[in-house]
């Protein structure tokens, strides 16, 4: 074989993948940043340069500020509940028996079905007139609640759906983390008659910290991008109480055709996601307890 093609071979093998990534991931980022400095309605041939105009307009827009607040609130509540509940569940369910596998499978099951299914199902469960949730509350003499139809409870209702969907995944990842703790450590602790709480604080929690960081960060990033449940269940309402970043970008792009404005919101989401990811890697690199 001639020398030159051989040296180029690895590049040729990577090229198709790299072409996809450059075209559909890297280039669009640059294109979006470019668009965010322009005003464009998608139809006119002219894009008008407006500098930071779109950003200024957005940051003085009350709706956008509410969208940011909603996204932050939704994210914090979802992450706290979905990871905070998953850890005790994992400690409780971490055993290898058929019954435990069944329970783990049951709580994991919402994770593999489409968000469309989940959204339709919960819209009906939370129906203010005939929904099952109000039926159950009625049984306890509470309610009826308006769930998604009340600006005061709509965002919280979406958090409940997200926790229901993600709890199983988080729990299973925690269980995988627990099972990778060397059993000698736990045996040594048991020999020393260490109290369960001490074992948890001194051994389990430090050994689990990479898993914990990982889950917190992917839950954070995932929650900031919430779209499906909002598009199907609330359309951002009532009165913007569930309007969040991706839905806002979608509306400005596809309903109002303000491409520059939508792109500027996209850049802000990019900054948030980028900061979270970089923060995660900085934290990881400082941790010693990492076992990949």
């Amino acid at each position: 074989m001639p020398m030159v093609p051989k040296r180029l071979k690895p590049y040729a093998m990577i090229a198709p993948a790299l072409a996809v990534f450059s075209l559909f991931y890297l280039y669009p980022i640059g294109y979006m940043i470019h668009l965010s400095f322009h005003e464009w309605n998608f139809i006119s041939p002219e894009k008008t340069y407006v500098g930071l105009g779109n950003y200024r307009e957005m940051l003085t827009d009350d709706v956008f500020l509410q969208v940011l607040r909603n996204s932050a609130l939704y994210t914090v509540m979802t992450v706290l509940l979905a990871t905070g509940t998953a850890l005790p569940l994992a400690l409780w369910l971490n055993r290898k028996s058929g019954f435990h596998a069944f329970v783990q499978g049951a709580i994991f099951s919402p994770h593999i079905i489409s968000l469309v299914s989940v959204s339709l199902l919960w819209s009906w469960l939370m129906d203010p007139e005939y929904g099952l949730l109000n039926g159950l509350l009625h049984w306890f003499g509470i309610g009826p609640l308006k769930w998604l139809n009340d600006p005061g409870t709509a965002l919280l209702s979406l958090v409940i759906v997200a926790v229901w969907k993600n709890l199983g995944y988080n729990t299973i990842v925690f269980i995988a983390g627990l099972q990778s703790i060397p059993p000698e450590l736990l045996e040594a602790a048991a020999l020393d008659r260490s109290k369960p709480w001490t074992t948890f604080r001194r051994i389990i929690l430090p050994m689990l910290s990479p898993t914990l960081f990982f889950l917190v960060i992917i839950n954070l990033i995932g929650s900031f991008q919430v779209f499906e449940t909002i598009a199907i269940m609330t359309q951002g309402g009532p009165v913007h109480s569930t309007n969040t970043l991706v839905y806002y970008i979608y509306e400005y792009g596809f309903r109002y055709f303000k491409i520059g404005h939508a792109s500027a919101a996209g850049v802000i989401l990019l900054v948030i996601v980028g900061t979270l990811t970089l923060g995660y890697f900085r934290l990881l690199s400082r941790r010693v307890h990492y076992y990949g």
């Binding site: 590049y11 990534f21 099951s109 489409s114």
Partner: protein, 301 residues
């Protein structure tokens, strides 16, 4: 976690145990009670996840007036199977189904074609710029579709590809996660095997296809499960990239029933939802271990 003490003892005081001091008998009874309480709590937990699905199936078999009873009933007076036919006939569902199949399998095939050589090159060759290029690939892991749909939409619109299968397939024709996973597996494959093959003058592509890929089969299967289910379920991308029936997938079709049938026909909507969710749930319970592994892996990027 240490197994509970009850595991090592008879649950109830039998002949010999009856002679034990009252304190010991009390402990045994307490352990038994705790064990039962533990199981009951687990069953309650299962209910939190199973009841919504049961409710979905129950609603799908009700008449419309039955769905409007409060407090709600669990069992319909007579199961109404026609809800399923109504759901299926409310849109071009065979077309949606076919589109879903084309898109999910198209993505998978292209992903295999792009990730196997790339992962092989990253694992088995040393070449200038390898670290940089691998970093570039990994960087795309942090770019979710929700971040770049607008510019990609504009690009696909320029290329006249909206409302085609290409718009739904091409952006996912490769996978950074797949490359990462497969590279790990290739790195672990014994070098001697490859050296032997190289000495035999086997061409590189033959080594890749005949030796490496079969050895990585479990990883490929794991990745395939994850990729197929994720794209089968996807709602966001097809929603953004399609405006008519020509390339719309099943999740979009199901969500659209709300527009065609009216928002309050929950019995028909839940019948449609059963058709969307139950096959996936059945597949999940049939291959639970593999699917859970696929999704847990996918997180450990």
């Amino acid at each position: 976690m240490a197994p509970s003490r009850a595991d090592a003892r008879p649950v109830f005081a039998t002949g010999r145990g009856a002679g034990r001091p009252a304190a010991a008998r009390f402990r045994a009874a307490l352990d038994a009670a705790l064990r039962i309480a533990n199981i009951v709590c687990m069953l309650l937990l299962v209910c939190v996840f199973a009841l919504p699905f049961a409710w979905m199936i129950s609603t799908s078999l009700k008449t419309l007036p039955e769905t409007m009873r409060f407090p709600p009933d669990w069992i319909p007076d007579r199961p109404v199977w026609s809800n399923y036919a109504d759901a299926w006939n409310s849109g071009p569902f065979p077309k949606y189904f076919l589109n879903s199949l084309i898109v999910s399998s198209g993505i998978l095939v292209l992903q295999f074609l792009t990730i196997i050589p790339a992962a092989y090159a990253f694992a088995r060759f040393r070449f200038p710029g390898r670290g940089l290029l691998f970093g570039l690939v990994m960087a795309t892991l942090m770019i979710p579709p929700q971040l770049i749909f607008l510019p990609v939409y504009l690009m696909l619109s320029d290329w006249k590809l909206l409302n085609t299968h290409f718009a739904l397939i091409l952006p996912f024709a490769s996978s950074a996660f797949g490359i990462f996973l497969l590279r790990q597996s290739f790195l672990q494959t014994a070098g001697e095997l490859i050296e032997a093959a190289r000495l035999d003058n086997a061409p590189e592509w033959k080594i890749m296809i005949r030796i490496m890929a079969p050895l990585a089969r479990p990883v490929l299967a794991t990745f395939a499960l994850f990729s197929f289910i994720s794209h089968w379920n996807d709602y966001f991308w097809p929603l953004v990239m399609t405006t008519n029936e020509s390339a719309r997938t099943l999740p979009i079709g199901i969500a659209k029933i709300r527009e065609t049938e009216g928002t309050a026909t929950w019995n028909v909507l839940m019948a449609a939802n059963v058709m969307l969710a139950v096959p996936v749930l059945l597949a999940f319970f049939a291959a639970q271990r593999h699917i859970i592994r696929a999704f847990v892996y996918s997180g450990i990027k």
